[in-house]
């Protein structure tokens, strides 16, 4: 797979094709599988993503600790805010839904990880519903997202334990922003700007889950990560360009991750996990899990 988005963008533009096309071709060669076969695997992932959104919206899921659950349903039926009736609210709702399913040991697609699994389906499926995007284009978008994630994996990290939340929901936001931009007809260069715009907005984000559980703030980080992705898509589609290339923004994420203190890398030693309330909730809930 590509190790620089720059190369993928150059190849796609030279041939007048999408990033999804070049990514699927390289994947086919790397893995010795047909493009059709890879597309059907991505189609199965899409079906699981849809199912997770639906399951999360029922509102009757609770995580092992009881710390999270039921908030996706609030966005569906709760009082209106300034974004009521927009794709924005719909995307937030879906991000919470998937991540609530994840916390409740439901089935999700780790994309790129389980902890960041809400962002991509929320952004793609939310926009797809509004814009009436068909499944062929959604599968293309997943391929583009996979390409972006592969570049992040190579240049930086996709693990909160290695790079903080910027490597999980941050990477997911970059993947979702780029994939959605291409799905909406953006050029390969616009995809690059969308990735850079989303990833720059999550630089430095720490991984500080209460009790080390993928629950709080993870569920909400997926919603805010999706919001950043949407902002990046809107800007990139409007022609906004980010002066630092996506690859360099990703490299920066990797550098910040390597410098990040271990307290902020999934160990529950710092950040929200180490607040007085964070510590108390974690202690109470872990006791509860042990009793259950």
């Amino acid at each position: 797979m590509y190790t620089a988005l720059h190369d993928a963008i150059r190849d796609a533009e030279a041939r007048g094709v999408t990033l999804a096309t070049v990514a699927l071709e390289i994947e086919s060669r790397d893995q010795g599988r047909s493009v059709e076969d890879i597309r059907s695997a991505l189609g199965r992932a899409l079906a699981v993503m849809r199912h997770a959104v639906e399951q999360g919206l029922t509102g009757d899921l609770r995580s092992a600790s009881g710390l999270v659950g039921g908030d996706a349903a609030k966005l569906r039926t709760g009082p209106a805010g300034p974004l009521a009736g927009t794709v924005f609210r719909d995307v937030l709702m879906r991000a919470l839904a998937v991540q609530e399913v994840n916390a409740a040991m439901g089935v999700i697609v780790a994309a790129p990880t389980a902890g960041g699994a809400g962002v991509l389906p929320a952004v793609l499926l939310g926009i797809a519903q509004k814009e009436k995007v068909d499944d062929t284009r959604l599968v293309d978008a997943l391929a583009t997202a996979g390409l972006i994630g592969a570049v992040v994996a190579h240049r930086a990290s996709l693990s909160g334990a290695e790079g903080g939340c910027q490597a999980e929901t941050g990477a997911a936001a970059g993947m979702a922003a780029g994939a959605a931009t291409e799905m909406l007809g953006g050029s390969p260069a616009q995809v690059g700007h969308a990735v850079a715009l989303a990833q720059q907005g999550t630089l430095g984000l720490v991984c500080d889950p209460l009790g080390g559980l993928v629950e709080l703030p993870c569920v909400f980080r997926n919603a805010t990560g999706a919001a950043i992705a949407l902002a990046a898509v809107e800007m990139a589609m409007a022609g906004v360009e980010f002066a630092i290339p996506a690859d360099e923004v990703i490299d920066t994420m990797g550098e910040i991750g390597r410098e990040m203190d271990v307290r902020y890398r999934e160990t529950a030693g710092g950040g929200l996990a180490a607040t007085p309330t964070g510590r108390r909730l974690a202690k109470d809930r872990l006791t509860q899990i042990k009793r259950a």
């Binding site: 797979m1 199965r44 040991m105 697609v109 997202a145 996979g146 334990a161 993928v214």
Partner: protein, 224 residues
Amino acid sequence: MVSILDIIGPVMVGPSSSHTAGACRLGLIARDLVAGTPQSALIELHGSFARTGEGHGTDKAIVGGLLGFRPDDERLRDALTIMEKEGLPYRFEKTTLGPEPEVHPNSVRITVEREHRKHVMVGASLGAGRIKVSQIDGYPVEVDGSSHTIVLVAEDIKGSIARIAGILSDDGVNIATLRLTRKHRGGDAFMVIEVDERPADSVGADLKALPWVRWSHRIDKVGG
């Protein structure tokens, strides 16, 4: 080499690719060492597995793997209840397998027994669902579960590798990698053979029929 399908995947039961999906895969590999559901198991959790494993369902995921459930199987949630119903005496302990970073923080030692077989493995969950088994029965190995794998222990005799390669090639199985380790010269050789196709049951029988092969197991691919 990073694959698109590694990034958009795996499809898995939450909440954590390392503490749940990876843990389940380690359980699946331990299960293959005794070629079926173990009659007893000792699961020794190390580091982060020991500290935050319960909240992440690591215990359920490992037991689920031992029962043959894959990472996307919703029965993982109820694996401990199923284990109790089946009357399986699986035990958990917290342990320290060694100092970090030599020992990965998400490590586990699993001892499994079934019929006359008893094996011990040490493995770790590396993140994003990827795993590495680093020890089987005291032999240093590297099994990541991304390919079908044959592990076998044989007397260290000349030509053993050629005979084994011959059996695999006769069955149309292509060898991807082969690693051989031994505790000392002339001692038993431990081989880890990663192959492209899933070897038929007859391959296992042919390998075991070699008088100098002490035992061999097929470990099915658990990733990808």
